[in-house]
Symmetry: C2
Subunit: 178 residues, 2 copies
DNA sequence: GTCTATAGTGGGATAGAC
DNA sequence: GTCTATCCCACTATAGAC
């Protein structure tokens, strides 16, 4: 009953994430997940204790993937801030429903592996060089992504300009050249 | 049947908005709204054609209030950008559930009064002086507000610094002084 | 590990009487 | 303008047999 670490449990999470990504949060039901696995919904409860635990597992998998992608994109990059923005924007656009699940509500922090949240944010901290600038930069990127995903911006070319002007504005001050 | 302009219809919208603001989107059900009015849920359909039309009406009322507040805050202000940010942040924090309903999903544009969306955004356009900078500034403010509402930032003092550094970064370049 | 059966709750919406 | 009755849908979760 509810062996969260078992192979089958991991498979349930994987399938559930697939349903979420393809069909959106409204389709993420125990019935739909079971159907995808070819079993009945009640059987899921032998592997996962509850729906919210399952959502936490999906969120964890999203953060792990995002953290790896942000670290890979920025390490050794000539322009780490631009590299981070590109990777972040790509992640959100590739997984819009997952991204919303990860950001829409307060994080279920007790259910996440310790350090994961910080590890995901670290590359941006390094790129901005200052915690308060990192928060501002994150807010800008998060806001841009959401406004894009909800179709808020007119479809002229100006949104790309908005991205670049925002990125330039968030740069750390250039170090003095002696 | 479904006289959307009638007094009673406006009252339904008002009560529904109250339920949303006090109890969140999960409580915004036809049954709950009816209960608040002391009638049965099916009776609502004599005044409102559907739940989604009711949501559109709530969204409209939110935009009308926001537009008025942003215009009042910025007109004649010494620092229109700072004034806009203060008013926007205050609106979102005063009406978090309404704010999310207004921004979480694609706007039901066909159901909104023409020009309302643009009127709401106009004060920020004026304050930034440039459409692409306005989008970047909006994204920053929207992102900050959401990250605050979802409890993403640690509760140290740095978030206020993030607000100010972001605002300064979004300012239009100073006009050349002859 | 899966099944059936079921409890319990909630939702949006319609028909037709008054 | 409100009511009752009702439909049909959906969901999470548990118990107990196999």
């Amino acid at each position: 009953m509810a062996d969260q670490g078992s192979v089958r449990a991991r498979q349930v999470v994987e399938v559930a994430r697939g349903v979420l990504e393809r069909e959106g949060a409204g389709a993420l039901t125990m019935r739909r997940i079971a159907e995808e696995l070819g079993i009945q919904a009640p059987s899921l409860y032998k592997h996962v204790p509850s729906k919210s635990a399952l959502e936490s597992a999906i969120i964890t998998s999203g953060f792990e993937e995002a953290a790896a992608s942000f670290a890979a994109a920025t390490e050794g990059a000539a322009d780490p801030l631009a590299a981070f923005v590109t990777a972040y924007r790509a992640f959100a656009h590739a997984h819009p429903h997952l991204y919303r699940l990860m950001t829409d509500r307060p994080l279920p922090r007790p259910d996440l592996p310790p350090g994961l949240e910080g590890r995901t944010a670290a590359p941006l901290q390094r790129a901005t060089g200052d915690p308060s600038r990192a928060r501002a930069a994150w807010a800008f990127i998060h806001g841009m992504v959401l406004l894009e995903l909800t179709g808020r911006f007119p479809d002229d070319g100006l949104t790309e300009q908005a991205w670049s002007s925002g990125i330039e504005a968030m740069r750390p001050p250039a170090p003095p050249v002696p």
